[in-house]
């Protein structure tokens, strides 16, 4: 038995917004793999919950007419990994979320929960940063779109107002077309592990596969919230897709990241990881794009 004060169940987005407005202290519960564990730990014990789990309209991956890929916020990690649309256009995201926890966690855990908990170590976050994802949010005032760069407001704080919930994650065509990406998770174990640091790199090469037209580098656990390595990205644009550029990225990312000491790893180790993982993920993304490196 969980220590829950009251459970309110929503079967539609409108009902969820109404319930959240009526119970301002309530916590949203989606798949429950964070919230129920925190209830058990006592951190969220005795609270009211608004369950959005039964809102089936928030599940599934679809492609919109303009090529935008729409991932419903309640889509589980399994749903994303096995989605033909993701496998064809966004394989890096499918691979990244296949590293979350274990198989049963990937069956219940949702991408919405993974981004709304505001945790820097979320396996989906660095890849969504590197994909310039857009969050669709619905609240009492209606719908609004939030670029992921404005999403994270601080540790465990995201850009959600009172009675608002995230309903989808959108990846625009210009963000994925022509790009290939690679995600690396560093952890102490191969399963049931939280990332010590995660790095996701997206690369777009020139037609002859020799020049870096664009590169986007996303990190988890390199700062209090997921971040982009903007300095390293700007310096690498227009450079040859070779080992020298990879090495330069490895140096330049150190100007962008601000990791800290924690019981999982020291700051120095994380700086080393940030540098090495960016080089490796960039190299692999170039290879996937057809470049020789």
């Amino acid at each position: 038995m969980y220590d829950i004060k009251a459970l309110y169940e929503a079967y539609s987005v409108e009902e969820a917004v109404r319930l959240l407005a009526a119970h301002p202290e309530a916590q949203i519960i989606a798949g429950g793999s964070d919230v129920l564990v925190q209830v058990r730990e006592g951190r969220r014990a005795g609270k009211e919950l608004v369950s959005i789990f039964m809102i089936d309209e928030l599940r599934g991956v679809t492609m919109e007419e303009d090529g935008t890929i729409r991932i419903g916020s309640l889509s589980s990690f399994h749903t994303i990994t096995y989605s033909p649309i993701i496998q064809e256009h966004l394989s890096v995201l499918g691979e990244a979320v296949d590293m979350v926890g274990g198989p049963q966690i990937r069956a219940i855990g949702t991408i919405g929960g993974n981004t709304c908990n505001g945790v820097t170590s979320a396996d989906s976050a660095s890849t969504l940063m590197a994909l310039d994802a857009v969050m669709e949010v619905i609240g009492p005032e209606g719908k609004r779109l939030v670029p992921i760069a404005d999403w994270y407001k601080g540790p465990k704080k995201v850009n959600l107002g009172p009675a608002e919930l995230q309903t989808a994650i959108l990846i625009r065509k210009e963000s994925y077309e022509g790009y290939k990406g690679h995600y690396i998770k560093y952890g102490m174990r191969n399963a049931m592990e939280i990332a010590t640091t995660g790095c996701s790199v997206n690369v777009k090469l020139s037609a002859d596969k020799k020049t870096v037209e664009d590169v986007r580098i996303g990190y988890g656990v390199a700062a209090p919230v997921p971040i982009r390595a903007r300095t390293a990205e700007a310096n690498a644009k227009g450079k040859p897709a070779d080992a020298e550029t990879a090495a330069a990225i490895g140096r330049d990312v150190l100007l962008d990241v601000t990791p800290r000491n924690s019981w999982r790893a020291s700051k120095d180790m994380r700086l080393h990881l940030c540098s090495t993982m960016a080089q490796r993920a960039f190299t692999e993304a170039v290879r996937k794009s057809g470049g020789e490196i």
Binding site: M1, L7, G32, S33, L36, R40, G101, P103, A191
Partner: protein
């Protein structure tokens, strides 16, 4: 809590239509054990780490300890009891666990067997690494996993209608000894 909240939940458990009035604070583990007497669903870590409470819901494997009972409404749920034959005959995966001594204390066994049953599609052969990843949501503190892996692999080859390849590095149960030294 003074105002207890209850809800009627209708679902299909091991092929049978069932209904129960549950406290909304119940986990699915609580409902399956307490309302339906399905004690193969173990209460292990209760935070979704050990896999002892795993059940199959609508075709995927979930930890029932971090699944609210009220979410089971309308779902098709399979527990280990559902794998047995009509007269309690063991299923292939259960028999393989017996034959390969893949059980010591037995607490992780229902979850492991159910997950293996779910993972092993007829005719599909996985590498050891793939199998380890697919079973990685289950913890066993007794066996060291070797015999569990062997039982799962045996069932995988059986379901594919193939002979299981001989494991060359397997240490034989009776060790030949010559002149006081082990001959391998």
């Amino acid at each position: 809590m003074e105002d207890r909240q209850y809800k009627m939940v209708h679902c299909y458990v091991n092929g049978k239509e069932r209904a129960a009035m549950v406290d909304v604070r119940s986990s699915l583990t609580d409902m399956l054990r307490n309302e339906f007497g399905l004690t193969s669903v173990k209460k292990g870590c209760e935070v979704g780490e050990c896999g002892a409470c795993a059940v199959i819901i609508d075709g995927d494997c979930y930890d029932s300890c971090i699944y609210l009972a009220v979410w089971a409404e309308g779902k098709h749920i399979t527990t280990l009891e559902g794998l047995e034959g009509p007269n309690g005959e063991l299923s292939d995966i259960q028999q393989a666990f017996v034959d390969e001594t893949a059980i010591q204390c037995g607490f992780c066994s229902p979850g492991f067997m159910l997950e293996a049953h779910h993972v092993l599609k007829p005719g599909v052969i996985y590498t050891d690494d793939e199998l380890r990843k697919k079973l990685s949501g289950h913890l066993c503190r007794c066996t060291g996993y070797e015999n569990i892996m062997r039982a799962v692999k045996k069932t995988m080859y059986q379901r594919a209608g193939m002979e299981m390849p001989v494991e060359e590095d397997r240490i034989p149960l009776s060790v030949p000894i010559e002149d006081g030294k082990v001959v391998l």
